[in-house]
Symmetry: C2
Subunit: 202 residues, 2 copies
């Protein structure tokens, strides 16, 4: 088995899809755009993917796997207290608002906003991967709720989905204003809400 | 001056743009799609608008004017207490999650998600109109903060933008899951957050 430092063609196309789709949206991104960004021919594209929709579905999974690896390896995972893990996760989401919008915004939220009615395969892939990530957040929230707010009215699942809604909406406002600062401010509100809902008894 | 019950051609095109763009996104919506939905010819379209981008900018303003009229006329405006106005506004946002996604989702958030990098005129129109609406919400928040949380760390402007982020993100999650219930649940979290941040002293 040989080990190569260079990504293969499929990975190049998936990386290109992440950049191109997060820059101009799914519908405006053409197969030509993605091939150009990947430095590959259209022949290569169709060797790996039957069409742009299939690439988008694969890109949703690829994006999610990358995000999962990032969060799994992040220092906040080692916090012994689940409340700390929840709050440090939110802080990490704010810290990740660096670079170009195409680097830090969410492929899933971008694609589903414009394809939910017309591309059910893409919609389902986005829903699946948003919820898989929310499920990870919900595990810490479940433990934190048990320890800090056992009688709270909300469920961990509901709160985890709320964290994702805030982050998706924060990206929308940041794109509109051309500035990630508004997204960081929204995530600070999310942090404050979680602190109030997971109170430290005095 | 004659009064006509029928919308003029421009209004028909704007109404059609609201439906078509909120269904399939800005990039996938063609001038043909919008003309078909309006029941008008392409000649009519180009009589009113030089191109699809100009229609989108006009549609952002038209959408916002419609939303402003709806909120200005809503019963919550008559609540004497600004805290009640804020909370009833949020409840109204949840109550509006009825019908098709193209009826209740936000034209501005949909368009800016896919055009922010490629269509600065559309991005600026979306930003302007999201913030004009947030400014209205901020007025009630400013009065409510003064009465209930004068020393809170957040500003009314920041909180108002947060309300809009939650609503935009709630639409994304609802589109992904094919169900507005998750959006209503996110808006319930927003309601709870505002209650904690505008505490009624006991």
């Amino acid at each position: 088995m040989t080990v190569s430092a260079k990504p293969d063609g499929k990975t190049k196309l998936l990386d290109a899809a992440l950049t191109v789709i997060r820059t101009k949206g799914y519908s405006a991104a053409t197969v030509d755009d993605i091939c150009r960004a990947a430095g590959l021919s259209k022949g290569s594209f169709f060797h790996y993917f039957p069409d742009k929709e299939a690439l988008a579905v694969a890109a949703a999974e690829y994006f999610s796997a990358g995000a999962a690896a990032l969060f799994d390896a992040a220092p906040y995972r080692d916090e012994p207290d689940p409340r700390d893990r929840v709050l440090r996760y939110v802080d990490l989401r704010a810290a990740l608002l660096q670079g170009n919008f195409a680097d830090f915004t969410c492929l899933l939220g971008t694609m589903v906003g414009e394809t939910y009615a017309t591309h059910p395969l893409i919609r389902d892939a986005c829903d699946t991967h948003i919820r898989l990530h929310a499920d990870d957040v919900a595990q810490d929230l479940e433990a934190a709720k048990r320890a800090y707010a056992p009688s709270a009215e909300w469920t961990a699942e509901s709160m985890a989905l709320f964290t994702q809604a805030v982050i998706q909406g924060a990206f929308i406002l940041a794109k509109a204003h051309g500035d990630p600062a508004v997204a960081a401010d929204c995530i600070a509100h999310l942090h404050r809400y979680l602190e109030t809902q997971l109170p430290i008894s005095t």
